[in-house]
């Protein structure tokens, strides 16, 4: 394996070794990406694309990197490739769907979560969030709780008045206390003034749960 990887490095001088805790990893400039992946698939037996994902470095430039995890079903070898995206505002990367059809949904997910546009992708739509969702949730500036947006369908908004709201990260109807003995840290209702046997105070009627 080591000889093979060294041969790959020698044959492609633009490659740089990338620090990695497990399998071998390389950094590859985006203009050589398709050629290199074709070579790895056809000549070095990396016939299985395990994963395509991305990293948002936020401060560092270039901000976005796309990662490819390759696997050789013949020799049971893993290889990781990283390529930077040129534009930090509108990150883009060439699509590898022509090499591995499985890249289709992986790239759609990376587009959905990070907003990376894969040039040459046959059907680049969101895959997890709904069409028309205005944010890319795995970008570093996006809060885990989410941001307020309209509901995906208008008829639902009309019928319920509901919208997408930030989730309560602390508190909320059921939560655990952050301190105290373990018996007091079990998740429980924030407002315990009423139960199914003890009626709800009349003043709180109609108010959202936990508001009292």
């Amino acid at each position: 394996m080591r000889e093979r990887l060294n041969a790959i490095l020698e044959a492609h001088p633009y490659l740089a070794a990338r620090p990695s805790a497990d399998c071998r990893a390389f950094n590859c400039p985006p203009e050589h990406l398709i050629g290199l992946l074709t070579c790895l698939r056809d000549e070095h037996g990396f016939d299985f694309l395990t994963d395509v994902t991305a990293i948002d470095h936020q401060e560092a430039r270039p901000r976005f990197e796309v990662l490819y995890h390759l696997f050789s079903t013949e020799r049971h070898d893993y290889l990781r490739l990283a390529t930077p995206c040129a534009d930090d505002q509108q990150p883009a990367c060439p699509s590898v769907t022509a090499l591995w059809p499985t890249a289709d949904w992986h790239e759609r997910e990376a587009y959905d979560m990070f907003g990376i546009r894969f040039a040459g992708h046959p059907d680049l739509r969101r895959i997890l969030m709904w069409d028309g969702y205005p944010y890319f949730p795995l970008r570093k500036e996006f809060p885990l709780a989410g941001l307020e947006t309209p509901f995906p369908s208008e008829d639902l908004t009309e019928a319920t008045g509901a919208s997408v709201l930030p989730a309560p990260m602390l508190g909320g109807p059921f939560h655990s206390a952050q301190g105290g003995p373990m018996s007091a840290r079990e998740p429980r209702a924030g407002d315990q003034s009423w139960t199914e046997t003890r009626p709800r105070p009349a003043a709180a009627e109609g108010a959202p749960p936990g508001a009292a």
């Binding site: 885990l144 639902l156 319920t160 989730a167 990260m169 109807p173």
Partner: protein, 180 residues
């Protein structure tokens, strides 16, 4: 064979005792012992829901074994699982397709409050889009907890003013969670 006049009168040997009751009591008795659940199984709670349908826990003891996957044929939606915002519209549409009278059971922490998913993608309680009758705690609730919740639903159905609602339109029930 000749017909006797007594054949047309009340025959206690055939018809038994006369039961006098209120229409509400009879309607509610029928309704609560033939709930047809619509299993809205969208996460692991659905596994417990399936267990409740099996012979060990036997939901048919309460007349609820007829699970129907069509909203047109069911009258109690059991929301068993995590409802994402993308799925919320589906839940609401299926609820709208169910015929009255209908009830909703929020099974488990996720359906009731969003559960452990305090996240941008998950609806924080299905009571924001459909009116919920019974909330069942647990993550996931055991089948016994589901059965207990369904028995509480039966108690609730028992006390409904069904006759009055038959004569006029059944009122649109408000959502438990007041949306902004």
């Amino acid at each position: 064979m000749s017909t006797l006049s007594s054949d047309y009168t009340y025959n206690s040997k055939i018809e038994g005792e006369v039961v006098v009751s209120r229409a509400d009591a009879v309607i509610n008795w029928v309704r609560r012992h033939s709930v047809w659940p619509m299993p809205m199984g969208i996460a692991c709670c659905a596994i417990e829901l399936m267990a409740a349908g099996g012979s060990r826990f036997d939901i048919s003891r309460f007349g609820m074994e007829v699970m129907r996957f069509s909203p047109r044929q069911s009258d109690c939606m059991i929301v068993a699982g995590t409802v994402t915002y993308k799925m919320a519209q589906v839940v609401r549409r299926i609820y709208d397709q169910m015929a009255e009278p209908k009830w909703v059971v929020a099974m488990g922490a996720c359906a009731s409050t969003g559960g452990m998913y305090r996240s941008y993608a998950v609806l924080q309680g299905v009571d924001r889009v459909v009116p919920v009758d019974v909330y069942i705690s647990g993550c996931p609730p055991r089948p016994e907890a589901l059965l207990d919740g369904m028995m509480r639903l039966q108690e609730k159905i028992k006390n409904e003013a069904s006759t009055r609602q038959l004569l006029r339109d059944r009122p649109v029930r408000p959502l438990a969670y007041a949306n902004k």
